[in-house]
């Protein structure tokens, strides 16, 4: 590929947390507040960079922006190639936002080993950002795997009772999937080497490959398993409840808010465009699993006694929607999927924050230990309610926009998946409201519940940005959808072209024009 070095904006964006790490390394571990401040300021700086990226992102092109491409390991044709397009833009922003929020939320929650904790948070941020902007498969894989380590530490060192079990399960499970993907990447590398006589791990180059059908199926399977585990798609989901329950609040927030999106992002960025034929061939299976995830996750979430576990299973359900949208292979489905990724990051992230706030106050997460919190904590009640409703997919809040577009897209692709998926909407209301009711409503029988403090200023600061976004996306989603419009269109066209199928049915069904004489 021709190597263009547009600018190193993304380099700065991705690696800026490391600056904070460097500072923190030289701070005495006992000066905890200083460490917290440095970490938070670093993450805010990163957030500012993300906002700048949003500001300067051009909406009129499907191409990568802020692209940087520098040869890195020439022997393998590996380049340091990053870029942002409509698919990854919002995810990058979400990552920056949730990390900053996560750090803020850990202010009082984490009292042990603050230094190590903050270092891990910032390392994690770099890893996650890297995943979303990498355009070289080697680079991508590097971030993809490296990011596991800080997450592993966050769960394992600052988690709950069974944290070690959860951490290792998380690590091993996700790694099992990704090593198979690595083999897939290597196979593609050699296919490219044979077809073009040139070594490359570059995504652009891989797009040009012509892969034999059988190989393509295998490759897709290798990628898909890696991503499906991360998503997690039923039946690869069992690491998730464990990891979520044991992780510290910020860990859960980021796990749910960002890490799971890597799976769906991977499908969208790699698995589908690189192997369109296979993706279509596998679509029935993937969609079935997605629908099963939706229903199954909801049903199992319903009966969880532990709030965090409930939210974890609800993630399975929500991510099922995302997958359904992506595998509709049409504009609404995919855009809905992306928006739903963001939505899930916001609402589930906020739910975990809320559970964390409860845990900080009561040191329990069992639903049965709560009840009647609405009275002592009215502001908390409002926030919790909004977030719950967003998770349920109430129109006017963000969740609905995503779910509706997904259902719309999926309906056009295959309505048999849509009907049970839409039924999942009912179940979402059941389990979330039931939980909400048991936690917030009723009489505060326990004296410790009666004496709970309402939100502190810091907790407001944590929740309000998310709530603002929840409303914003819910009420006026157009600006968000517009960021991805060109990219997704382009992606669909490319996929269809590579499949050699009919020209993309982007414009069907045509909107009905009002008959000139009618109606008025």
């Amino acid at each position: 590929m021709d190597l263009r070095v547009d600018n190193h904006f993304l380099t700065v964006l991705v690696f800026s947390p490391l600056i904070g790490v460097a500072f923190i390394l030289f701070i005495n571990g006992r000066r905890e507040d200083l460490i917290r401040n440095v970490a938070f300021i670093t993450s805010l700086g990163n957030l500012a960079l993300s906002l700048a990226m949003l500001r300067f992102f051009r909406l009129d092109t499907p191409l990568m922006q802020f692209e940087v491409a520098v040869p890195w390991i020439r022997q393998f044709g590996i380049s340091y190639h990053m870029g942002v397009d409509g698919v990854s833009l919002l995810l990058v922003f979400l990552t920056s936002l949730l990390t900053a929020i996560g750090i803020l939320s850990s202010w009082r929650y984490i009292t042990k080993r603050v230094k190590e904790y903050m270092i891990m948070m910032l390392l994690l941020e770099t890893g996650m950002l890297g995943v979303f902007v990498s355009l070289d498969l080697f680079l991508f894989y590097l971030f993809w795997e490296a990011m596991l380590v800080p997450m592993y530490f966050l769960i394992g060192a600052w988690g709950g009772e069974r944290r070690i079990y959860a951490a290792i399960k998380f690590f091993l499970y996700t790694m099992t999937g990704s090593v198979l993907m690595l083999v897939g990447i290597v196979v593609m590398y050699f296919i490219h080497l044979d077809q073009f006589g040139r070594a490359s791990f570059d995504l652009y180059d891989f797009h040009r490959l012509s892969i034999p059908y059988r190989t393509e199926m295998w490759l897709f399977a290798a990628f898909a398993v890696a991503f499906a585990i991360k998503v997690p798609l039923f039946p690869f989901h069992t690491w998730l409840p464990d990891a979520h329950v044991e992780a510290p609040t910020a860990g859960s927030v980021i796990l749910a808010g960002v890490l799971l999106k890597m799976g769906t992002y991977g499908f969208l960025r790699f698995a589908i465009p690189l192997f369109p034929t296979a993706a279509h061939a596998f679509a029935p299976l993937v969609c079935t699993l997605a629908v099963v995830s939706i229903i199954y996750g909801a049903l199992v979430a319903m009966v969880q006694p532990d709030v965090k576990k409930l939210v974890a299973y609800s993630s399975v359900s929500h991510l099922g929607f995302v997958m359904l949208g992506l595998f509709a292979f049409n504009l609404q489905g995919i855009e809905g999927g992306i928006i739903q990724m963001i939505n899930h990051g916001l609402s589930t992230g906020a739910l975990f924050l809320i559970v964390g706030m409860l845990y900080e106050r009561r040191h329990t997460r069992l639903i049965a230990d709560f009840g009647g919190l609405a009275k002592p904590m009215p502001a908390f009640f409002v926030c919790f309610l909004i977030v719950t409703l967003s998770s349920i997919g109430l129109p006017g809040l963000n969740g609905f926009v995503g779910e509706f577009l997904i259902l719309l897209g999926s309906f056009r692709a295959n309505l048999y998946y849509t009907i049970p998926a839409a039924a999942g909407v009912i179940l979402a209301a059941v389990y979330m409201l039931w939980m909400f009711q048991r936690v917030m409503y009723g009489r505060a029988d326990r004296p410790e519940n009666r004496a709970l403090k309402d939100l502190s200023v810091r907790e407001y600061a944590v929740l309000i940005p998310i709530i603002v976004l929840i409303f914003w996306i819910g009420v006026y989603s157009k600006p968000f959808l517009r960021t991805m419009d060109f990219t997704v269109r382009h992606l669909i066209i490319e996929v269809e072209r590579k499949r050699g199928g009919p020209p993309p049915a982007m414009e069907a069904p045509a909107p009905v024009e009002l008959a000139p004489s009618g109606g008025e």
């Binding site: 609405a374 129109p395 719309l408 009912i426 059941v430 009723g442 009420v475 045509a510």
Partner: protein, 666 residues
């Protein structure tokens, strides 16, 4: 003013935001009146919109005003747009009008509640949602309002959240509504699939003009009627029927029809003004409004219409029969609401959309009135709901008693109160309808008439038990009349209940200015003024007979109630004993809740908890995952035993290795 119609919903929203954010810091005398004021503004605005619309030419009474684009993705573009036409103008008026009165009433009723501001912010939010629902310019935006009213319902039913029954009822309402919304959502998806748009006027225009559309299943453009006639897989029904039934499922959820009515009686856990506003006058009628709004679609599917009509008629009689045996004053009214909503659907089902809306309007007045009277009674009785513990309240609560009498007479259908006209319009439409042969209409009519008898009976049972006879109040309860903020709305509503009928008087009873105004005004939307059409061919004799039967039915019901509950108070115990199992069945609401619990809720819980979670998820799936780990560990445990520490054993394995290798290679 139509250009500013979109402000109608937003003004109460502002009230919500102010009360919601600053609520705890605002003094009570600001928060409540502020909420009322916002609704009053909306009412004024609605009135101006209505007048402006009324002033337009009959054919041009349609305006769509888009504010901003909400969602845009490919071909789907949904604007935040309001649609102003006669139907929505009427609805706006009803909602804001009744809403305002109930807000005022609440000032008194909720005066001492500690959740005062929270209450008003919810109530304002409800006004916003309901106004959004009725003024929305597209299915999707309507769906937004649709869901939001459900939310408000959830919040307000569970307003006294410390009561478990209240919280449960709220959740039940929301979930059952969601089941309906599922249908609405599917219908909407299918509509988009066919029409490529969700804007009301575009969809209906396409249906009306039979335009070319390219539905998702066809690869070329086809006329609408062909597209809608396509048989759906699995069901085999024409697409339009499936769409209409899906939408209707949504309506049954919101408007508490069979099979999804179960949430409404429980919803009485909420404050009484809420019951009046949401669960009687406005929200529950959203389903009727939706069916009427989609009249163009429904008329295209006779099968769906038939279903609507039957569901309506059956609900009417079914709910009325339950109402006969309830002792909880609000529950009686709740079942009455379900029953009356059934009438409205019956009207829609027979094509008399305008009649349905007419009944909707009168019902809004008299049912709100009845609820608020009940609230006044409760207020007086320190929250007592059981009619068995009331009696003789007419002495102490004059205004309440009188207004409630008016309401009861109205709902019973005594001319010339409004209820008589609206109910009669429906019954006559049913009687004269030609659905699938004329017998169907007669059956529907019979069901409706029977329900009318029951209505009169249970209403007057309520009146006699509450206001007359001997006082059975618990000691220490001192009934007293309510404050003016509560009684004034009662009087206003009573007046409206009395006079509202005059805009929809059957031609049989004469013509005078505005006598058919309601039907004429709605005709452009509901299609050709169905309400009056049958008169032309069925003959006035039959219409007169129907009318007479109605009046007789009402009178019979009232007299029976008087006989049993006032004249011979001992009689009803004997009747109850005589009826035995039947009474128990009715008293227990046909055990429908129990059946649902037994068939759906419990198996669902069991399935999720025992089977899916503990057995399948933890056992099978995670078992496989952890099993892989254990397998590895187990294998390791076995393998490490080979490492005995004795060097000779190592040599043995060494030689064994060589033997195997030689075996492999030779």
């Amino acid at each position: 003013m139509i250009d500013y119609a979109w402000l109608t919903p937003l003004i109460p929203l502002a009230g919500t935001v102010i009360n919601g954010i600053f609520g705890r810091r605002l003094p009570k005398f600001v928060a409540g009146p502020l909420a009322c004021l916002t609704v009053l503004c909306s009412f004024a605005l609605s009135l101006m919109v209505f007048l402006e619309l009324n002033a337009m030419d009959e054919g041009r009474r349609l305006a769509v005003r888009s504010v901003f684009t909400w969602i845009e993705s490919g071909t789907i573009k949904v604007d935040f747009a309001v649609l102003i036409d006669p139907l929505s103008a009427v609805m706006l008026l009803i909602v804001t009008g009744v809403g305002f009165l109930i807000h005022v009433y609440s000032l008194g009723y909720m005066g001492h509640d500690e959740g005062y501001t929270r209450y008003f912010s919810y109530l304002n939010l409800f006004m916003f949602s309901m106004l959004l629902l009725v003024s929305a310019g597209s299915f999707l935006l309507m769906f937004v309002g649709w869901e939001l009213v459900g939310l408000c319902s959830y919040l307000l039913i569970g307003f006294w959240y410390e009561k478990k029954s209240a919280a449960d009822a709220g959740k039940k309402a929301f979930v059952v509504n969601r089941v309906g919304d599922f249908g609405f959502l599917l219908g909407m998806l299918a509509l988009f699939g066919v029409f490529g748009t969700l804007d009301f006027e575009k969809v209906f225009a396409a249906v009306r003009h039979d335009s070319l559309v390219s539905p998702w299943f066809a690869d070329h453009a086809v006329p609408v009627h062909e597209a809608l006639a396509v048989a759906t897989p699995l069901l085999g029904l024409p697409l339009i029927t499936v769409i209409c039934l899906s939408l209707f499922l949504g309506a049954t959820g919101k408007s508490a029809q069979i099979p999804l009515y179960v949430w409404l009686p429980d919803a009485m856990e909420g404050p009484t003004p809420v019951s009046a506003l949401i669960h009687a006058a406005t929200m529950v009628t959203a389903g009727v409004y939706m069916v009427a709004r989609c009249g163009a679609l429904f008329t295209a599917s006779p099968d769906a219409m038939l279903v609507v009509a039957y569901v309506g008629a059956l609900t009417a009689i079914f709910a009325a029969s339950i109402g006969l045996a309830q002792n909880d004053i609000k529950r009686v009214l709740a079942y009455s609401t379900v029953s009356q909503l059934g009438y409205m659907f019956l009207a829609c089902g027979v094509g008399a959309f305008a009649a349905g809306i007419f009944h909707l309007a009168t019902h809004a007045f008299f049912k709100a009135l009845l609820f608020m009277c009940a609230g006044s009674v409760m207020h007086a009785m320190s929250g007592e709901l059981d009619m068995k513990k009331m009696g003789a309240l007419a002495k102490t609560m004059k205004i309440t008693a009188v207004t409630m009498w008016v309401g009861a007479l109205t709902i019973a259908g005594i001319p010339p109160l409004s209820g008589f006209f609206s109910k009669d319009e429906i019954l006559w439409s049913a009687y004269s309808a030609h659905l699938n042969g004329s017998e169907t209409g007669k059956i529907l009519y019979a069901l409706g008439a029977a329900a009318a008898v029951m209505t009169a009976f249970y209403m007057f049972r309520l009146i006699f038990l509450t206001f007359h006879g001997k006082s059975r109040a618990a000691p220490g309860v001192h009934p007293h009349e309510s404050p003016p903020s509560m009684t004034v709305p009662l009087v206003v509503l009573a007046a409206l209940s009395v006079v509202a009928g005059c805009v929809g008087v059957p031609e049989l009873l004469g013509r005078f200015p505005l006598s058919r105004w309601f039907f004429d005004f709605l005709a452009p939307v509901t299609g050709g003024g169905h309400g009056s059409a049958p008169a032309a061919h069925a003959g006035s004799g039959a219409e007169g007979a129907v009318m007479l039967v109605s009046v007789c039915a009402a009178a019979a019901g009232i007299l029976a109630a008087y006989w049993v509950y006032n004249a011979r108070p001992a009689l009803h115990d004997r009747i109850r004993e005589r009826l035995g199992p039947v009474h128990r069945l009715v008293f227990n609401k046909y055990y429908v809740d129990e059946i649902y619990t037994f068939l759906i809720v419990e198996p669902g819980k069991w399935l999720s908890s025992r089977l899916l979670w503990r057995v399948f998820d933890a056992g099978v799936i995670d078992g496989v995952v952890n099993g892989a780990g254990y397998l590895a560990q187990g294998a390791g445990a076995v393998l490490r035993r080979f490492q005995t520490g004795v060097v000779l054993n190592y040599a043995l394995f060494f030689v064994l290795g060589i033997i195997v290798m030689l075996y492999l290679i030779l």
